[in-house]
Amino acid sequence: MQGGHDLGGKQGLGPINPESEAEEPVFHADWERRIFALTLATGMLGKWNIDQSRFARERQHPINYLENSYYENWYEGVSKLLVENGLISEAELFSGASQQMVSREFRVPTREDVKKILSSGGPTEMWLDLEPVFSVGDYVRVERNFTHGHSRAPTYVQGCVGEIEIHHGGHIFPDKNVEGQFSGEHLYAVRFSGKELWRSDIGNDEVVIDLWEPYLRSSN
């Protein structure tokens, strides 16, 4: 969906004003630390995947998405997932008081489990029987995409022509993963000239972006 999160090339959002590297803390307030940990820990219950987690943050009114700070959007995302998956009720969320215990047939990770999960990660590369349609050097056009679902083809590359730079192999396809369907597609790094994307006097600068095969069609 082309929500508030789809920010590439948007204008009028102001200066970056970066904090200096030497002075910036990892977290700026204790509640950020807590919501970060709560999001990772509840994610480890295995009730939702990374694309469902991203989509939960994206499914907000764009004004709210942009007005919220980064970790406020994490709160919005994880509380939505907890309610939608029946782990908590809205009434419990608002009151903070438990009204009903959940029957659990899943494991709540301990400290030792967390160590293992964080250090092993969750690779998304998949072996695919189908050969890749495109090869390095091929020209491809990104399809227009007006899905209301979750997708990882940003608006700013849609309709533009780029060149396949790298074939990353098969990877879990976010557009299906968000629906709980575990399937893979070939993934490519596609290089676009700034002139193609922005049609301005941008010189020779370029953008390389990872795109899955279903987003692309041949433009040789």
Binding site: H5, L7, G8, G9, I16, P18, E19, E21, E23, E24, V26, F27, H28, D30, R34, I35, F36, A37, L38, A41, M44, L45, L66, Y75, I88, E92, S95, G96, A97, S98, V102, R104, V108, P109, R111, V114, I117, L118, S119, G121, G122, P123, T124, E125, I166, H168, L187, A189, R191, G194, L197, I202, D205, E206, V207, V208, I209, D210, L211, W212
Partner: protein, 213 residues
């Protein structure tokens, strides 16, 4: 911590503090999270995993050309061999700066970032201004970080839309011949591995070390 600027991450409305506190006590009461597990997550990303990991890789690559080749060809494995593996670093790509090409990393759709080698991203990396402008006006973004590149140098911006995680291998600064890996590591900043800055000049680090070229 300095709070005199108007970043959106500072001074949250107090109700987010209360909302998060309520959520945590609810989840603990319902047995859906384990308090020690939460501590482990926070300790890992606040104290253990951070940009020193990436700086180690970069300095080693500058110092040892065999390792550099390995890092460019099999980055996930090369990082894992030094103990840097796990969540948000499952599929690393290392992109090398050259005299004619400068690399810059962004995630326009969210905040994808190579946690295993850089830790959690800084607030500005996750902000709407950086995410919107890095792809469309990289030179003005770099200028905000005090980085000015020659017009002949092509900027290649990597937008991390997938689970591939990009790390910039900065150019080794001139005037560092004969430096040890440990000395070189001091020149590698987090920002240089995102690509918004160059590695530090040796003059800044070692003004008194006249014996080094």
């Amino acid at each position: 911590m300095p709070n005199d600027h108007d970043h959106d991450h500072t001074e949250p409305p107090s109700d987010i503090v209360l909302k998060v506190k309520a959520l945590e006590s609810l989840l603990v009461e319902k047995g859906l999270v384990n308090a020690a597990a939460l501590d482990e997550i926070i300790e890992t990303y606040e104290h253990k995993v951070g940009p020193r990991n990436g700086a180690h890789l970069v300095a080693k690559a500058w110092h040892d050309s065999d390792f550099k080749q390995e890092l460019l060809e099999n980055p996930t494995e090369a990082a894992a061999a030094l103990g840097y593996a796990g969540r948000q670093g499952e599929h690393l790509q290392v992109v090398e700066n050259t005299p004619s090409q400068h690399n810059l990393v962004v995630c326009t759709l969210c905040s994808c970032y190579p946690w295993t080698v850089l830790g959690l991203p800084p607030a500005w990396y996750k902000s709407a201004p950086y995410r919107s402008r890095a792809v469309s006006e990289p030179r003005s973004v770099l200028r905000e970080f005090g980085t000015e590149l020659e017009n002949e140098v092509v900027i290649r911006v990597w937008d991390s839309t997938s689970e591939m995680r990009y790390l910039v291998l900065p150019l080794r600064p001139t005037g560092t011949d004969g430096w040890t890996e440990a000395q070189l590591q001091q020149l590698v900043t987090r920002n240089s591995m995102i690509g918004v800055e160059l590695a530090k000049s040796p003059a800044i680090i070692n003004q008194n070390n006249q014996g080094i070229d």
